[in-house]
Each structure stands twice: as structure tokens, then as C-alpha cells.
């Protein structure tokens, strides 16, 4: 009996999908076992390295007490607000920079200089000016999201071929029509590549803000737990942060799948630009 080509391809695809899922489970399991072994073999006390089981129990407990959810919700708010604010300003300003050489000459030095100052160094200032509430954290978050989104917006908008602009001009397209039918779709691949980086950075921004001064949030929870030598809780908070970042990243990847279906799967240029190949690209 001969398998048809299509059959074979399908079976191969299924097998490789199952392979990949199995690989993920296997690598996670290996990491947990290694962690457990290190904690056990070296007889490390729980405040240095808790075992996976202790971390899981602590997480369950924090969940039931309600503190985990409360602090996660605070951080999530900061992250989402900061991501939205940073993306919005970066997109608007990025479009302006891409279209106007004058604006670029005026602003580029400041933008580049602003990137040479680590956010950690500016965070205390923002806390002094805007207090320890949501606003300051949102601003810190927005600040860290801002640059990668800005750069990719500029590159994306500039990547529109001149001949397509000629085409639109010859058809007397209005400014808004050119933006809607040409520049947005053409810039989207590179823009989403920037958003993917920004999304993960936004979580870092929120934690930086919370480390400097806060009375809630996952960054605050980490500080609190560290002070009490509750290392298991530190681990719990870190895992939740990782989960947040992965979810945001996955959301942008989902956006790419939805809006960039017109690209050949191998040519998702925005992805190629911002991250190495393999699992990091959609």
C-alpha cells in the first residue's frame, strides 16, 4: 500500500506537532526535576532555594488568601495602561518622525539620549513627581515600551515603496486614505515586531516601578516576601510575571497571525527583524 504525498505530508505535520508538544513537556519536566534535585542534593534551606513542591503549595496558599490575585491585578493594570500609553504615543510620534525629516532632526538626539538613561534611574524621579500610585507606574511602563515601538513604527512607515506612493498620488488618494489603505497595512509587520518587544518590556517596567516605591503589585510582593525570607513566595511572584509576559507576547503573536496572514509564513519580516528565528517567531 502506498501513501499519497498529501497523506504523508499530513502525517508528518501531525507527528512534528506532537513532537513539539512532547518536547515542551519534556523540557519543562526536566527543569523541574533538576531544580528539585539541586534543592535536595545540596540540602539547601527553603529560604535559599525552595523545592518545586514548596513553591506550588505557597502559590496555592497565596491564591486562597487572595493576595496573589490582588497584587497580580495591580501589576496587570499598570502593564496594560503603560503598554497602551507607550504604544499610542510611540505610534503617533513615530509616524510624524517617519514623514518629517525636520521633526526627525529636531527630536532624534533627545530620543536617542533618553535611551542611554536606564529606566531604573528615571523611575525614582517619576515616583517623586507623580506619587506611588498607578500613574507613576504606568508612566514608567510607557517609557520602556515607547522606544522599540517608536523605532519600528518609523522603519515600518518608511518601508512603503515610493512607487506605491506614486500610485496613490496618481489616484488622488487623500492623506487619510493613504494612511488607511497603504501605510498602516504596509507598516504593520514591522510595527507588530516592535509591539512584541514592547509587550514583554512593559512587564519589566511595571516591576521596576514597584521596586522603587509601592504598596501593592507583584514587584512589591517580591520585595515583601524577600524581607520575610519567604523565598517560595518570591518564586510564585516571578512565575506569575513570566506568565504575564508570555501571555502578552502570545497576544501579539495572535494579532500577527490574524492580520499578517497575507504574508508568506517564511517572510514575516517584522518578526525576523526583532528576534532570532525558531520558536521566537510566530
Amino acid at each position: 500500500m502506498n501513501l499519497t504525498h498529501a497523506h504523508r505530508r499530513l502525517m508528518y505535520a501531525m507527528r512534528s506537532n506532537r513532537h513539539r508538544a512532547a518536547q515542551h513537556v519534556l523540557s519543562t519536566a526536566a527543569a523541574v526535576v533538576l531544580w528539585w534535585a539541586v534543592a535536595r542534593l545540596f540540602h539547601l534551606p527553603a529560604f535559599l532555594l525552595p523545592t518545586p513542591g514548596e513553591v506550588a503549595r505557597r502559590g496555592w496558599q497565596a491564591l486562597q488568601e487572595g493576595i496573589l490575585w490582588r497584587h497580580t491585578w495591580v501589576t496587570l493594570q499598570e502593564v496594560l495602561a503603560g503598554l497602551a500609553l507607550g504604544t499610542l504615543t510611540a505610534t503617533v510620534l513615530g509616524y510624524g518622525l517617519a514623514k518629517s525629516r525636520v521633526l526627525e532632526r529636531l527630536l532624534a538626539p533627545y530620543l536617542v539620549a533618553s535611551q542611554s538613561v536606564p529606566v531604573v534611574a528615571i523611575a525614582p524621579l517619576l515616583i517623586i513627581w507623580f506619587g506611588t500610585g498607578l500613574l507613576a507606574k504606568t508612566l514608567i511602563c510607557a517609557l520602556i515600551v515607547f522606544f522599540p515601538v517608536l523605532v519600528n513604527t518609523v522603519v515600518g512607515v518608511r518601508s512603503v515603496p515610493e512607487e506605491l506612493h506614486d500610485l496613490f498620488r496618481s489616484l488622488h488618494a487623500s492623506r487619510w486614505q493613504t494612511v488607511r489603505y497603504l501605510e498602516i497595512p504596509a507598516a504593520l509587520p514591522v510595527f507588530l515586531g516592535g509591539l512584541r518587544i514592547g509587550a514583554t518590556l512593559s512587564v519589566i517596567g511595571a516591576v521596576v516601578g514597584e521596586f522603587v516605591a509601592a504598596d501593592s503589585g507583584l514587584g512589591f510582593l517580591i520585595n515583601l516576601a524577600r524581607g520575610r525570607y519567604d523565598t517560595a513566595l518570591v518564586f510564585v511572584a516571578v512565575f506569575v510575571l513570566v506568565g504575564l509576559a508570555l501571555t502578552l507576547y502570545g497576544s501579539v503573536v495572535a494579532l500577527e497571525r490574524r492580520f499578517l496572514a497575507w504574508q508568506a509564513p517564511s517572510a514575516r519580516s517584522g518578526a525576523a527583524q526583532s528576534s532570532p528565528g525558531g520558536e521566537l517567531t510566530p
Binding site: P161, E163, L164, D166, L167, F168, R169, S170, L171, H172, A173, Q177, Y181, L182, P185, A186, W262, Q263, A264
Partner: protein
């Protein structure tokens, strides 16, 4: 009837100079010619002579440095259809979306736009490919889509910038026929830049030969070959004579 004596398009003393450090680059120098309504004009010239610049001026994309381009019968700028050497399709729109783009930009209702697009797609022999994305089209198919797009808003003036250069010989010859058919049906005035003497003689009513940069009009020759012009025409003495005149003017 002065419809034939009033030109559709009149180019007078047209000069284009690109400012550059040191010496300015003069691309077009005192170019003058007329095009009648529904005429098919081919523009020949050595490569880099400024043929594409001329086309950009005619399309209104580039203001002339000297002289003027007028459309005597028109109060406003006429509607223009553009086809480039590359198809220049929007990769995120399918064939139907690409062809109907000019009507969409004019604010035509979607149904109307799509119905007319469908008709042109069928005329270009692309039925069944309405939903295909540009990445799945061959070069010839993509250029057919570009031609359909250039005709959809019933332009008064069709500007073609070496539209068949990037295609293989067989596809090119089939597209010549399709262009002529659609040109006759839509009654459009055409200006086509090309570097192929054969293409100019098989398609055009008149051929303009430009000199090397800065370009001026070297020769303005009517093509007196009868239509329809079959492939075999290439091997007739009349064709050979005209081809020779053009070749001498270009050299």
C-alpha cells in the same frame, strides 16, 4: 468637427532639472509633442534618458521645471491610470481588492466597484483568481492585475512605464493583445514608455524617439501599419523600414 484637431494632451517647452550639488542634472530639455484623444503613443529612447521622468510629469507626480503640460479639452486634471515595470500590487489585498482599489479611493460603493472589477478581471483572463493573493501570482498574472487596476476607474489617460519588460516573451506577446483589446474597448488615450522597437511598432499609432540626456524629441513618427497587427507583420518590408528609422534615431 474639431475633435481631431484639438489635442487631448499638449506638452510645450517641457524641461525638468533635478537640483544636485555642483551641477544641476538636466533630464528633459525643451520637450514638445501632442497626443490626440484615444491615440496610442509609444516613447522610445536610450535607457536613462528620462522617459520615466516624462511619464511622472504627465501623471502629475512631478512638477515641470520649465514649460507646461496641458489638457486642452479638460477643465480639471484628467483621470490617470498608471502601470509600472513591476506590478506594484498591494500584497495584503487579493486580486479583487487590488483591481477595485482606484474605485474604492474614489468612494464608489463596494458592490459597484467589485462588479466592475469582476468584469475587468474576466477580460484579462483571470476569472477564478479573484481571491488569490499577489504572492501566489506569476509575473504575467500580476501584470494583468495591474493593467485591470489601471483601467477600472475609466482613466482618460493611461501611462505605461515599460510594463512588459520584466515578462518572458510569450507572456509579453499575449499581454500586447490584451492591452490592445482593452484599449479599444475602453477608448483611452495611452502613452507607453518602452525600449522595444517591435513593441512600439506593433502597439502604437505614433512613436516618439527621445535623445540621450538631456532628452529632446528626436523623431516623431506615425506608424502607418494597418490594424489589427498580426505577429507576422514583423517580417514585412514596411515594418522593417520603420524599425530601421527608429533604430537610427535612437543610435
Amino acid at each position: 468637427m474639431n475633435a481631431d484637431t484639438t489635442p487631448f494632451l499638449e506638452v510645450q517647452h517641457l524641461g525638468v532639472v533635478f537640483p544636485a550639488d555642483g551641477a544641476d542634472l538636466e533630464v528633459l530639455h525643451d520637450v514638445a509633442f501632442r497626443v490626440r484623444r484615444r491615440e496610442f503613443l509609444a516613447v522610445l529612447g536610450p535607457s536613462g534618458c528620462g522617459k520615466s521622468t516624462l511619464l511622472r510629469v504627465l501623471a502629475g507626480l512631478l512638477p515641470p521645471s520649465r514649460g507646461q503640460v496641458t489638457f486642452p479639452g479638460h477643465r480639471a486634471r484628467p483621470r490617470v491610470g498608471l502601470v509600472f515595470q513591476k506590478a506594484n500590487l498591494l500584497p495584503w489585498r487579493d486580486v479583487l481588492g487590488n483591481v477595485s482599489l482606484p474605485l474604492t479611493l474614489q468612494g464608489a460603493p463596494r458592490r459597484t466597484a467589485e462588479r466592475r472589477a469582476q468584469r475587468l478581471i474576466a477580460r484579462m483572463g483571470l476569472q477564478g483568481f479573484e481571491g488569490a493573493l499577489p504572492r501566489d501570482l506569476s509575473g504575467g498574472m500580476a501584470q494583468r492585475v495591474a493593467l485591470a487596476r489601471a483601467f477600472i476607474h475609466q482613466p482618460d489617460l493611461l501611462l505605461l512605464d515599460e510594463p512588459f519588460t520584466a515578462l518572458d516573451a510569450l507572456t509579453r506577446e499575449r499581454l500586447w493583445e490584451e492591452l490592445l483589446r482593452i484599449w479599444r474597448a475602453e477608448r483611452t488615450t495611452v502613452v507607453m514608455v518602452t525600449h522595444s522597437i517591435t513593441e512600439a511598432l506593433l502597439l502604437a499609432d505614433r512613436v516618439l524617439v527621445l535623445s540621450a540626456r538631456p532628452a529632446t524629441v528626436r523623431l516623431d513618427m506615425a506608424v502607418t501599419l494597418p490594424r489589427p497587427r498580426a505577429e507576422g507583420l514583423r517580417y514585412t518590408p514596411a515594418f522593417g523600414q520603420m524599425a530601421r528609422r527608429l533604430r537610427e534615431a535612437i543610435a
